[in-house]
Amino acid sequence: MRRFKNINYRKVATKLWADRYIYLMILPVVVYYIIFKYWPMWWLRVAFYDFKILKGFKGSDFVGLKHFIAFFKSPDFFQIIWNTIYLNILSLIFAFPAPIIFALLLNELSNSKFKRAIQTVSYLPYFLSTVVVVSMIKTFLSPSIGTLNSIIKSLGYEPIHFIGDPEYFRPIMILSGIWQGIGWNSIIYLSAISGIDTELYESAVIDGAKRYQQILYITIPGISTTIIIMLILQIGNLLSVGFEKVYLLQNAQNIRVSEVLSTYVYKMGITRSNYSFATAVGLFNGVISLILVLLANKLSKKYSEISLI
């Protein structure tokens, strides 16, 4: 309280007025977060009701943890959680480092025209809609009309039903994810690399450091803060998998490995208008994600002294 007593409100008001256009610029973002991120939190209590849209909270029955228990008791609960986490761990192992490596490689290109051309081409898949990407994947991998299977058949092997074989579901997800996001996700690392003091490279060259040594001892340590922050955020998403792509690639043959939290919530919650159940799973997901982020943040702070908060 003493801290607040010492505040010179007149000075603060003057400062606010002086920077009014800056605050005005940030207003839409604040409004966006209040409306679309904070205000919906008030509706999280839907998870504790048998919520009926037309009747509202007053007309809906309070059911406590019923929907959470129903979720935990569902026959495939552990399988779904495992599928979600496993897919994300694979993504963390393979898809997370890919844009870092790509950014490091791009940084080493000396021909600026070639570098820009590579960057543009690598960004393009990011702007394709998921529906288009999945349609391309399905056509490319089709056992009857797909290019890949035509090559396999021309080599004398039996065609493979990639989309139907559960073994291929995760590799397809990861590889297509890398292809689609490698260029776009490398931007943040490229900008981090551009912030490294060039004098460090010059000194390293004078000291006789080779290219790979410059990468190893200057570039990577230079962007390590960015990498760790991105890693913490990624760990927070361990229970979240983009819904559209999984749903579109899912079929009866691969459902054993392709049913993840988001597709399950969609089927259980949205398609049968059970918003309470969907909210309960969403809340569970949010709480676990928050715990994971805090945990990753703490570990990072302990071992590398880099953290979000």
Binding site: L24, V31, K52, L54, K267, I270, T271, S273
Partner: protein
């Protein structure tokens, strides 16, 4: 310069705030009101002065109601002359709110949540609307004011319109009074290419044909490995085993007439054995789980039109479209409709069209208007209304020949042209007649005059007529609503695993039994009771 910066900042902030709030606003662009009808509504005095229209219309004062529905394909969103005529005849003004079919269910939910509920909602899940308390039962109103609607329903239609929650009717359906829909189909030119003269009928004959398709280069493209002997899902083969099912959920009747799931039938085990053998031998479609009439029909059409599918069970119209596409490259290509497969136990069947589908419900927001809405639709289902919805306006869309309506060109040339004119408007409840369907199908010509692909379609419609069965509806019992989202995808997955040999038949049944403990048994029990209640 400073002033310019201020303006730029204010403009940016304004645009960003507008972008944020635009997502919260109601999309007015989709609310279509017929302009002609607006004229009628705004000029009632002119009609009174003319002194004739008032007496001919259904309502003395203009009756207004709003109608929310999803629209697709060639149906016109605005400028529909049929609706203009209908509203003119009945002195009604309908405020249509059309939305694309994709994510329509979400749109319905959002509309309910907004509190701005239209008077009628079409094309939405009726059990969901009942559960939300959003719609009202119509039995009494139909009894009093909707006799034309009730008379249009056949006994078997009631299983599809009555809701299991209380046995009441909550929606006015769209009725297509035309049974034929599907056909078993085979490439006649492929049969010739592999030296088979007789159209296969029995299970063994079909297997022999499929083997020949697989082993020989039936499509003649030089690659003997790319033929798909039987394309599409496995559910389409169930009737050959005496399991009359026309979807992937699998509700049917057992020998005693009890409502049950196909997995409960003794014939299902034989079906599993045969499907596993077909898959192992490479005769079944490798992509059976991702394409087929009851799984993903556009994908099935794609493989058929790529000259890779030897046979399939799908919409009869596929014989025409596939043949036309294939003949652009190979003039000999012919996909014909044939009698349904006679299974290992001599059984065969082909699903007929379910007469009633879709439909519109009256919401709680329109309880005071419900009587007039039913009266309005009673007119739509009257002889005059049926003629208007099926044949259009006399002199414009049809002429009367020998006392019967005969569609004029271009409306009888294709379903696309027909629908573009506002006819056969399926997002709106009405009865569409078999005669109008056939007139469009034949394009105003006799059978002898129509093209060969069209003849294939016509023949395919009727070739299996003696084996038609009416599909059993999925009853939305409380247990079904509660557990279906976790039980049926799981079952579908287990079935696919069993067919591909990933698990054995015993393992399949073992997993199936386990599901009974987590809701499946309740689904079976409640379904059986609900069926008894509906058929009482």
């Amino acid at each position: 310069m400073k002033g310019f910066r201020k303006i730029a900042v204010l403009l940016t902030v304004f645009i960003m705030l507008v972008s944020i709030f635009s997502g919260c606003s109601k999309d007015k662009t989709n609310d279509k009101v017929s302009t002609e009808t607006e004229q009628h509504a705004t000029t009632p005095s002119e009609e009174t002065n003319e002194g004739e229209e008032k007496n001919d219309t259904l309502f003395k004062e203009t009756f207004k109601f709003s109608y929310m529905g999803s629209i697709w394909g060639d149906h016109p969103q605005e400028g529909n002359p049929i609706f203009d005529e209908l509203m003119k005849r009945t002195n009604t003004e309908i405020e249509f709110q059309w939305y694309p079919a994709a994510n329509y269910a979400d749109k319905v939910s959002v509309t309910l949540a907004s509190g701005n509920i239209p008077d009628m909602i079409a094309g939405a899940s009726i059990p969901t609307l009942i559960n939300e308390g959003a719609i009202i039962p119509l039995d009494e109103l139909l009894e009093k004011h909707g006799q034309n609607i009730l008379n249009s329903l056949k006994e078997e239609d009631y299983f599809h319109v009555r809701q299991v929650v209380d046995g009441k009717i909550y929606h006015i359906p769209f009725i297509l009074d035309f049974d034929p829909a599907y056909a078993m189909q085979i490439r006649k030119d492929w049969l010739e290419n592999v030296g088979i003269d007789k159209i296969p009928e029995t299970w063994d004959e079909w297997k022999a044909a499929w083997r020949a398709f697989k082993e020989q280069d039936a499509n003649g493209d030089g690659d003997p490995t790319n033929e798909v002997p039987y394309a599409g899902d496995i559910y389409s083969l169930l009737p050959a085993f005496g399991i009359n099912v026309a979807n992937k959920i699998g509700f049917t009747l057992d020998a005693e007439g009890n409502y049950t799931l196909m997995y409960e039938l003794p014939e299902f085990k034989l079906f599993l054995e045969e499907m596993r053998a077909l898959y192992k031998e490479g005769l079944l479609d490798k992509e059976f789980a991702t394409r087929g009439t009851f799984v993903n029909n556009p994908e099935l059409e794609k493989v058929a039109q790529a000259n890779l599918a030897g046979s399939m069970m799908t919409w009869a119209a596929n014989t025409r479209t596939t043949t036309e596409v294939l003949r652009e490259i190979d003039p000999k290509a012919t996909l014909i409709g044939v009698k349904p497969i006679q299974g290992p136990q001599g059984k065969r069947g082909i699903p007929s069209r379910v007469r009633v589908s879709g439909g519109a419900a009256i919401t709680v927001a329109a309880e005071d208007k419900a009587e007039n809405i039913i009266k309005f639709f009673n007119y739509v289902f009257s002889e005059e209304g049926i003629r208007l919805m099926s044949y259009g306006i006399e002199g414009v869309h049809h002429e009367i020949v020998d006392g019967k309506p005969v569609l004029k060109a271009p409306y009888n040339e294709s379903f696309a042209e027909f629908r573009k004119a506002g006819l056969n408007f399926t997002p709106f409840p009405h009865l569409f007649t078999e005669d109008a369907y056939m007139q469009v199908l034949l394009g105003g010509k006799t059978y002898e005059e129509i093209s060969e692909p069209m003849k294939l379609f016509y023949d395919a419609l009727y070739v299996g007529k003696e084996y038609f069965f009416t599909p059993i509806p999925v009853l939305n019992t409380k247990a079904y609503t509660e557990y279906q989202a976790q039980i049926f995808p799981k079952l579908e997955g287990l079935l696919a695993q069993c067919i591909t040999g990933e698990i054995s038949i015993e393992e399949f049944y073992s997993e199936y039994e386990k599901l009974k403990a987590v809701g499946l048994q309740e689904i079976l029990d409640e379904g059986r009771e609900a069926w008894k209640m509906l058929t009482k």
